[in-house]
Every structure is written in C-alpha cells, then in structure tokens.
C-alpha cells in the first residue's frame, strides 16, 4: 500500500533523478531490498529499476542499500549488473560449522523404520516378511546411525534372532511422547492415510513400550553385546 502511494507521488513530480526527496528514496530502497531478498538468484538492475517509483535512479538506490549493509552481518553484493545478498565473509565461521548436510531418509528406510516402530520387538526376518522384500544391509545401518533404531534383545526362538526397537531419540525426533501415541488403524483411516479398502482382518499392532520386554524376548547380555559388536549394523547379521 505504502509503495503504491509513493509510486503515484513520484509520477506526479518531476523526472529529474538527481533531486530525490529522502522519503521517496527510502521507499525505493525498501522495494529494492525486498526484491533482492526474495529472489532465488541475483537480480538485475533493470529488473529492479522497472519496479521502482519513476524517476528514481536504480544505481543511486543500490548504492544506498549497499552502504546500509556494509559492516553488517549480511552484505549486498554486486555481481556484474546484478545484485544479491550474502552473509558477510567473516561470518563464514558461523555458517560453515553447519555444513552437515541434511539427508533425506529413503523410502525403504522409512518403511523399515515404521515397521520397527509399530511392530517392535521385531526381527529382521519379520521385517522382511512384512515388506515382502529383503532389507538391504545399509537400510538398518542408516537407521541405527540416525539413532532411531536400537537392538532390544533376542527372541526366544530357534536361532535366537536379534529384535529391533526404536529409541528415545526416535520419539523426540518425531514429536511423540510415547510409542502409544502412534495412530492406530481407525486413526490412520480417519486421516486418509489408509484408504477404506482394506480387508476386515487387517490389523495394526499396538507397540510395546520401549523398555518392556515381550514375553518371548530376552534382554541382551554381555555376551550378546560382544558378539553383536562384531556384527555391528554393518556386519553380516543374523546368521
């Protein structure tokens, strides 16, 4: 609104660029500032000029703006005939420390994670049974590395397979207070995540709490841990 008014004022006044009233100039810098800020790439002077009140010299405005940002945490840079904001070079230490790239979790990993969350304690064989495909070694690795999945214990069944469960960090990351907060069948349907076209015997388990052991589950012993130390997530796993 303010900007529009300014534009009209300008139109009415003379076109002489050299004599600019400070308020008009201020509005022009606001416009240029917003344009450069919101743009996905450097913005050309011509593009900015088109959007400034008539009679305001774009270079004059950009010089003002550049001076304004000089010495601040963010600077206005001129790249050939275009303009862009960049954080000040001496700020790179603040920015650079965060170069840890955020990795998107793969579809497969999400599936495995969700199965572990809902069906825990669950063995690797069971995960594969639910997914209908073999779980690649790396998938569980990623989830353990993320700190979302842990070894819970061993199933009291032939081969004593290791059982997986989720961690406290998992709950924190996904904003859950407890595992029981995971939505059940009706709620998944209600939110449209599950369509209504599912068989009547379709069920979704209510996960056990993190620290409760299932009836047929043994806690991990020292021996197990040693053994599993060799079989870390990267290892050959349940043979």
């Amino acid at each position: 609104m303010g900007a529009k008014r300014v534009a009209e004022d300008v139109g009415a006044s003379d076109e002489n660029a050299t004599v600019v009233d400070p308020r008009r100039l201020y509005e022009a810098t606001r416009i240029a500032e917003a344009l450069v800020f919101a743009s996905a790439g450097p913005v050309s002077s011509a593009y900015i000029a088109e959007r400034l009140p008539r009679g305001v010299d774009v270079l004059h405005v950009m010089r003002e703006l550049k001076a304004f940002y000089a010495g601040r945490g963010v600077n206005l840079l001129q790249i050939e005939d275009s303009w862009a904001f960049r954080t000040a070079p001496d700020m790179s230490f603040v920015i650079r420390t965060e170069e840890t790239e955020v990795r998107k979790v793969s579809r497969a990993a999400l599936e495995v994670l969700s199965i572990i969350a809902y069906h825990q304690p669950v063995t690797r064989a069971e995960i594969e049974d639910i997914r209908g495909v073999q779980t690649s070694k790396g998938t569980l690795d990623v989830l353990m590395e993320a700190g979302w999945v842990r070894l819970r214990g061993r199933r009291r069944s032939p081969g004593r397979p290791v059982t997986f469960g989720t961690t406290r960090d998992f709950l924190d990351h996904f904003g859950l207070e407890e595992l029981r907060d995971l939505p059940g069948l009706d709620e998944l349907k209600g939110t449209g995540l599950l369509s209504g076209r599912i068989p009547s015997n379709f069920q979704i388990p209510m996960p056990l709490g993190e620290d409760e052991l299932a009836e047929d589950e043994d806690p991990l012993t020292q021996l197990d841990l040693e053994e599993l130390g060799l079989l870390t997530p990267g290892g050959k796993a349940d043979e």
Partner: protein, 289 residues
Amino acid sequence: MQATGGKPPRKGRGADAPMDDLWQDDASGRGLHEESLVVDLAGFEGPLDLLLHLARTQKVDLTRISVLALAEQYLVFIDRARKIRIELAADYLVMAAWLAYLKSRLLIPKQAKDDGPSGEEMAASLAFRLKRLEAMRDAATKLVNRNRLGRDVFARGMPEHIPTERRSAFEASLYDLLTAYASLRQRHAITQVTIEKRSVWSLADARELLQLLVGDFDDNWTALDHFMLRYLSDPAERTTAIASAFAATLELVREGRLELRQDGVFQPIYLRRGQKAGEGEGSGGEEGG
C-alpha cells in the same frame, strides 16, 4: 443434488468434496433460492451448513434466531426434496427427524409426566452449535486473508544454509513415517472388498449420525423414533426398518450405550443415554481451547 445420487452414502460421507472450488466465491455459487426453493444440496457441507445458511437468511444474530422458524424452513426444504423424489443423504434426513421432534417440543405444552429435555434446551443447543460453526467459519476467513507466506510475504529466496534444529542429520517427519507405513501395509493387504448391502437405514446408524449432528443424547428420555421412521424409511420399507432398528437398538442397549423405555404395548419408545454412552467417541471437548 449430485452428492446424493444413488444410494444414501453410509454415515453421510455424502459431502465429500464437490464444493471445494467454492471457497473463493463463497455462497454465490451455492444453490439455495428461498423464493423458488430450487433444491440443490451440492454446495452444502452437511445439514448444519444448510441450517446455518437458512439461519443467515433470518438476518439476525444467531443467538436470537427463531429456531422454530429455522426448523420449519428446513423441514419444508426437505419435504420438497422428497416430494420431487430426490434421494437425500441420510444425514439430512436424520437432522430433519430431530428438527421435527424439536418442533413438536416447542409447540406442544410440556406435559406433567413428560421428562424429556425441554424444547428450549434443545433449541439453545442447536443455536449454540450453529453459532460455533459460524464462528469457526469467520475465523477461517480471517485466517486465509492474512498476509500469507509465499503470497504476500516472502522468505529468503536464496538461502545459504539450513540450520539443523535437531541434532539428527536425517530429515523425516512423522507424516513421512506414517505415510510410508500406511501405504506399505495397504499395498500388501489383499484388496478384495465386498461392499455391505444395505437397503434400509437402521436406526442405530441414524442414532450414531444424530450424535454427530446434534451431540449426545442426554440423561432425559427422548421419543424421536417416530420422527426417525418418518424421515428415514419409505413407507414400503417401514416394517423392515422397524425390525432391523429394534434389533440394532437392543444391541446398543446391551453395550450399555443406550437405555430404552416403553410404557405399554404400542406406546412410543423412549431412549436415553446409557452408562457407557461416551466410550470410544471421545467427544468430550472439555479440554478444547
């Protein structure tokens, strides 16, 4: 009437989405013309929405509308629709049954031995619900007209880094997780579905719907089966309706969700909330706000 073609959708899912585009131009495209009573429910999201629209034509504050007049208007509307053989979604009919009942309570002097909720109480609760819905509508309008990010207000177009708020270097939301799980399970579920045939709406279904429309039954005896029968079944189907309704009602009584009373043979059947009425519904609302 597009929402109501074919069989009445169970549980009134009728208002699925055909009115989605109407947000922008709001009521202008909605098809209710009081004078000519052109019947068109396509633009309405259920009976409360229709009632609210009718109430607005009274052009007074919702706390002071004549609920009686409103009920009349609604019933006339429904009757017209039925006369020209438009199949109405069940939730509109259930609301009609309730309003017919309300109307009778408002018009007929209270009898001594009659311990049902007073017509005024029922009217007040309806007016409250309409007022609340309208308030949420207004709030939605105010919300959507705010300066919105990406439309009126813009973020940095050329971000230089994304600070990781959480320690984790992995990004996934609960929504991602649930979507993955649901679609996985869905994929592997046998997708063979048989759709239940239902030619008659049972009163138990209607009651569940009624709960949605006007809130819980309360502790008072209510006799609205008459009205339900009138609006929910064709005369031809009435016998089966009564039979299945009675069976269904007994089921609800057995579950403790409903209590029944009949003072004598062929007397009206009264209902009231059972001991376990609220269970599984979660419609308490006491923590709301």
